[in-house]
Point group: C2
Chain length 347, copies 2
DNA sequence: TAGGTCATGAGGCACGTACCTCATGGCGGG
DNA sequence: CCCGCCATGAGGTACGTGCCTCATGACCTA
């Protein structure tokens, strides 16, 4: 049993006593410092498990007398969701500082794998304990993630995951479920069926391809009366998306629905409103930003599926905190929900 | 300006130096201990403001060598949402302990103001720094809230607010917006209009009356073709709600929609499925629980509006942390969003 | 066997705050 | 004038962990 009972939490002293080693050895094990035989380390681990020792985060940070250094690497450009992610980070800088976390943000060119890889390669463990990135699945990025991990930097993915790399955690929504949700709403909005066009940013982005897969699957299974057009790639850019939408409207006079699973919504809304069919076409888009808000209010967009950037940043910071101190365990974070927004529940 | 520059955060030592007083005096001011003249206290406050001192939470909790004591008082009974709130609290107990927070949960009889008031009156500041309650607007409860506050206990409201009392914070959704959202969805689901019945738990609960007000307003403004029936009160109970729904179905063979803005959804789903009209009536309910999940899956319910209990508990704990230590300021917490769930984005 | 490496122990200081005791000096009342 | 109350200062210890130095003994190798 537990000789300290319920009176107080276990401390490193208790661990040392239980393992029959000195405080210094416990400390070496806890902080992964060299100079401990495997057998001894195991004894310590066993003692930790037995008495249920949990490192005191407050004391730990206090003792280090240094801030946890977090670096967010976020795509730059016209993608407004990325801007709102960066804003969300900025809002956390102050409060995080009160929790001994120092946050930096780097903006890099969007959809540029090599720029991201270079940025990751430039990270120095002395100035960055943890990096949070928004990345597509490109070999150069994957290599840079693993290299940074080898240098001791904890890497986490945000919005779009990089399975198969050494990234320690992913923060974002279930994008396949988001696609299914879009399909389900679209199906209900169009009980008579009709043509629905799909626009993506880039199918090399895992979040986009996952959404498409979910949308297709749910549509096929539940709403066979709907005919799918596309997907067309708009590269998350305003002007490109604008011309794509204009073209779709021109070519399909009977277009009943539009699902933009990528960004570039300013172009989408502009093209819709320039036509006289805004409001006559059911439109579903992603991410609650200025353009999609405007679209919801004007009636150009019916539903916006969203991943709350503030929530994502909050969870990213919480995960970084637990990972950077917890060592090898997994971070247990609250899942990010798929938000559904209509004109009436805009936040 | 700030003589310590950007090199490190300000500490109590810096405050003492800036105010020209001793550490002991700063400490007395910071912790509200007696023995400081008003003029001196003001000097200290001014110094704190000037150099932007922020008490180090970690060090503070460490030095106290005691846990922050939090008590949740949650209604008992057949209301499954309250059960999921309690579950959410239970899930946080462990992690919170690692952050030096000791959490207790009291379950009391639902909709029983005097039981809640007694429970609040029984709280002792020695065993409870902060109480989080789910309460209706009843004079006895309001008095108990103010009394507890006078005893030094920070009281926060959850789910349903108590404006006009000394409660320090409210955690929950914007219920009027939730009602408007329900109306907007219902209107879109019923483009031809029709009869829509409304069921509430109790209109003495502020969250319920707010939802009703929002629903009514949005329906009236945007969907005049919809005829509203009710509201009928089901007192958040399964059996009562069951008979209400059965009765509505029997009396209105042409019922097109149903909005249950309270609990008792197990009864609602059972009554719908017992009839042969499940799926033919558009149904919107609140709170993602076992009954509403089942309803969504079976098609008996179309949409569930939800307030994420885990998020609410997380924010409640965060707010308690900042309030119990921050003193007189306001807690800045992330807003709780109105979740919208269909069969396809069930979490 | 001497010198070297390595695992471990012992102990101390630091982090920023809370809280305690004791000393000191001012000031008013009897 | 002296006693006592009060505001304040001075300084200490403690919280749990991180990190440092130094000592000690075991073991290996030349």
């Amino acid at each position: 049993m537990n000789e300290i009972g319920l009176r107080r939490r276990a401390t490193v002293h208790d661990v040392a006593r239980a393992a029959g080693v000195s405080l210094a050895t416990v400390d070496r094990v806890l902080n992964g410092r060299p100079g401990v035989r495997a057998a001894t380390a195991e004894k310590v681990e066993a003692a930790i498990a037995e008495i249920g020792f949990q490192r005191d985060l407050s004391a730990s940070l206090l003792a280090r007398a240094r801030d946890l250094k977090l670096t967010f690497i976020i795509p730059d450009g016209s993608n407004e969701f990325m801007a709102s992610l960066a804003d969300a980070v900025a809002r956390r800088v102050g409060p995080a500082l009160a929790d001994r976390m120092h946050i930096e943000t780097h903006r890099i060119k969007a959809l540029d794998a090599h720029a991201l890889a270079r940025s990751l390669d430039a990270l120095d463990i002395r100035h960055c304990d943890c990096a949070v990135i928004v990345a597509g699945e490109e070999p150069s990025v994957q290599a840079a993630v693993d290299s940074a991990t080898r240098r001791g930097i904890v890497v986490m993915t945000l919005v779009s995951d990089l399975p198969g790399t050494q990234r320690r955690h992913f923060i974002g929504i279930d994008n396949e479920a988001a696609g299914r949700t879009a399909a389900s709403l679209m199906g209900r909005f169009l009980p008579q069926g009709g043509k629905v066009a799909v626009i993506a940013g880039s199918l090399h982005l895992r979040d986009h391809s996952d959404r498409l897969a979910g949308f297709r699957a749910a549509l096929g299974a539940e709403f066979p009366a709907i005919e799918l057009i596309g997907p067309v790639e708009g590269h998350d850019e305003r002007s490109e998306t604008h011309s794509i939408v204009a073209d779709l409207l021109e070519r399909h006079g009977d277009l009943a629905g539009l699902y933009n699973l990528g960004a570039g919504n300013a172009g989408l809304v502009a093209a819709l409103e320039a036509s006289n069919r805004s409001g006559a076409i059911r439109v579903i888009a992603h991410e609650l930003t200025e353009p999609t808000r405007r679209g919801l209010r004007s009636g150009a967009i019916d539903v916006v599926l969203d991943q709350n950037p503030d929530g994502e940043i909050r969870e990213a910071i919480a995960a970084a905190r637990s990972l950077a101190l917890g060592g090898s365990g997994k971070a247990a974070t609250d899942p990010i929900e798929i938000g559904i927004f209509l004109r009436d529940n805009l936040r």
